[in-house]
């Protein structure tokens, strides 16, 4: 049987990806340019007995998904810049309480209300540093409609596997453009569910590290009772200020992601084997970059593309290795140098780094990148 094919908008594909992953709860608040995610979920979730709720504000939306996640549901919310700022309070909560949830954040111009319908990539730092305190961060930056579907599935997998919030961050272009998508059959893409406790309710502790860095999470309304708090907590889930526990728990939360970068980090290398100039790009900008690299190759310039698919954790190791091979990096992005700073950090001066920054609500076009390739080659 031929696979199901459709011509979908990016946001619609994100919603379909969530459903494929087994999402049964969506809590949201309307914000451009992410609203289609909520709209599709409002139509599809009740059909499968799932729940959609439009909350009173962005914070409430984030709260509702954490609450629902604690009952065992796979949960999704969608937002954009200003909403992401508001949600940060409870993204931190989800980090410390280790509650799986997925946040699709469609990047539009900022700061503040900025440019609601213009594309941007200026939320990538907010994905890591937006909420206060030390915490793990996973952020995926898909570049096509198909990938937005697939990466949303992967976001759910990572959220459940590592008991942590995961962000999917398409820029407005990827979220709003339409492309053909081939729906994977059920079972074709891996779907990971959270680990249920193997001990009896009496023995259960929600942060029991004897099961490793990611302790099993029970569900409210099952046979297990437990306490969840946003305070620093011990393995039993109750607040503690005991220095050794707090230190150990904080370190473990961050380690869940940092010790597993090889499992989480994904990227694509294109024409890099003999490249002298490497463009490092993500999201829709990486599509401009590929265009530019192809043009450069036609003109005999040894250019390549390193496409970041997982923005956080950042592909430090790969970029550091690449810095030893290429002469220069070009980092086009729709912000004033967020990824560029990270690339400079990884390059450690072994390759020069040349940013192309655009924050006027227009995409970075291939011509701009090609010009820069020629300039630095």
């Amino acid at each position: 049987m031929a696979k199901k094919v459709a011509f979908l908008q990016g946001n619609e594909a994100a919603a379909q990806g969530a459903l494929y992953a087994g999402c049964t709860f969506f809590g949201g608040y309307p914000i451009t340019p992410s609203t289609e995610v909520a709209e599709v979920m409002s139509v599809e979730l009740p059909k499968i007995g799932g729940k959609f709720i439009q909350m009173e504000d962005e914070i409430g939306a984030m709260a509702s998904v954490i609450g629902a996640s604690l009952t065992g549901a796979k949960v999704l919310t969608a937002t954009s810049g200003p909403g992401l700022s508001l949600k940060q309070e409870l993204i931190g909560y989800a980090c410390i309480a280790e509650t799986p949830c997925v946040i699709v954040n469609v990047m539009r111009g900022g700061p503040s209300t900025g440019m609601p319908t213009g594309p941007s990539q200026s939320d990538v730092m907010c994905a890591k540093w937006g909420t206060h305190g030390d915490h793990p961060a996973i952020c995926l930056t898909p570049a096509s409609v198909q990938e937005l579907f697939e990466e949303t599935v992967r976001a759910f997998n990572l959220a459940e596997k590592y008991r942590t919030p995961v962000m999917v961050m398409p820029d407005e272009i990827v979220a709003h453009m339409r492309e053909r998508i081939v729906f994977p059959e059920p079972g074709e893409l891996e779907v990971i569910n959270r680990t249920a406790p193997s001990v009896s309710p009496a023995e259960y502790k929600p942060y029991d590290t004897s099961f490793g860095d990611v302790p099993p999470l029970a569900a409210f309304g099952s046979d297990y009772r437990f306490h969840v708090t946003g305070l620093n907590k011990g393995q039993d889930g109750f607040p503690t200020t005991k220095a050794a526990w707090v230190q150990a728990e904080e370190e473990r939360q961050v380690r869940k992601v940092e010790a597993n970068v090889d499992d989480i980090v994904t990227f694509e290398e294109y024409e890099l084997a003999d490249a002298e100039v490497a463009v490092i790009a993500y999201g829709s900008t990486s599509r401009s970059a590929r265009f530019a690299v192809n043009e450069a190759r036609k003109q005999g310039i040894k250019a390549g593309l390193f496409r970041i698919k997982t923005f956080w954790p950042f592909p430090d190791k790969q970029i550091a290795a690449l810095a030893g091979k290429v002469k220069a990096f070009i980092t086009p992005e729709m912000n004033l140098g967020m990824c560029t700073g990270e690339v400079k950090r990884c390059a450690e001066g072994k390759a020069s780094v040349h940013g192309i920054f655009r924050v006027d609500g227009e995409p970075i076009n291939p011509g701009q990148i090609l010009e820069k390739i020629k300039e630095v080659k």
Partner: protein
């Protein structure tokens, strides 16, 4: 016969953190007696709170407990209830948490008439942070941030809840201990969003600043100002001056949110 509160309290969690004479413990006991009366199952009951002194209550209770962020209890609880409508969901918290930072979540939970019970312990102050004025601090009262007297008018929590659409609203006081469990039990039994405001005392940060000589004086004040709704019907406006009505203040039957959403699911599946 002594009531066995221990049956519902997590072993080793007492004594609690509340100050001497704080009524939160009295409210917690009322809640436990209400739960006992109704026979709510521990595994099937979630107790959700925000931040503040009162919001520490769930930590002591042997149920599914969720101590959330400041003001957000109603929104977290909405997620729990939506995802598992068969669970009993009880919210607890203070006046600052519920009506200031959590005001928006509070009014929308009322509007949705989602089937949960919200117990607001109103002690007219932010206790945990050291006694700053809250939206429920009376005009003229002293707080650490209104040393010249509070210029703000105070919220009437019950009126706010009724105006926003809560379908069961009751008020008691920490003094009227025997009434607390009855009001809470009736609220939990009510199908829809129920609010129980308990007028409470904070001797440490409110009493001290507002010339209350003791916990006892604060408790006696609660006794003096409370007028049961029935009794109030026979009283003149002058007699009611400075009094606060207690008992079940409002009750109506209206479709509740999770039942209505179940109908959405039915329609979507067609």
């Amino acid at each position: 016969m002594s009531f066995d509160y221990d049956k519902y309290i997590r072993p080793g969690k007492l004594p609690h953190i509340w100050c001497p004479g704080c009524g939160h413990g009295i409210v917690m006991k009322g809640l436990i007696r209400a739960i006992d009366t109704l026979g709510l199952q521990k595994n099937n009951t979630a107790i959700v709170s925000g931040i503040g002194c009162a919001s520490r209550l769930p930590g002591y209770m042997d149920f599914c407990t969720l101590h959330t962020a400041h003001g957000r209890a109603a929104a977290f609880a909405t997620g729990v209830k939506m995802a598992k409508p068969e669970m009993n969901v009880i919210l607890v918290g203070g006046d600052g948490d519920g009506t200031a930072i959590g005001g928006n979540h509070f009014i929308h939970a009322c509007r949705r008439n989602i089937d949960m019970t919200y117990i607001i312990m109103n002690n007219n102050i932010y206790g945990m942070t050291g006694g700053q004025f809250s939206p429920c601090t009376p005009t003229g009262a002293k707080a650490s941030t209104t040393v010249y007297g509070n210029p703000d008018p105070a919220f009437d929590v019950a009126k706010l809840a009724i105006g926003a659409g809560a379908t069961f609203v009751a008020r008691g006081t920490a003094y009227h201990a025997t009434q607390i469990d009855k009001l809470i039990a009736e609220a939990i039994q009510h199908k829809g969003f129920s609010v129980v405001e308990i007028l409470d005392d904070c001797p440490t940060t409110y009493g001290r600043r507002n010339k209350f000589k003791s916990v006892i004086e604060m408790m006696n004040r609660l006794k003096d100002i409370a007028v049961p709704v029935k009794a109030a019907e026979k009283m003149t406006a002058e007699q009611l001056e400075g009094k606060i009505l207690t008992g079940v203040l409002y009750k109506e039957e209206r479709p509740n949110y999770t039942d209505e959403y179940a109908k959405v699911i039915e329609r979507a599946k067609k």
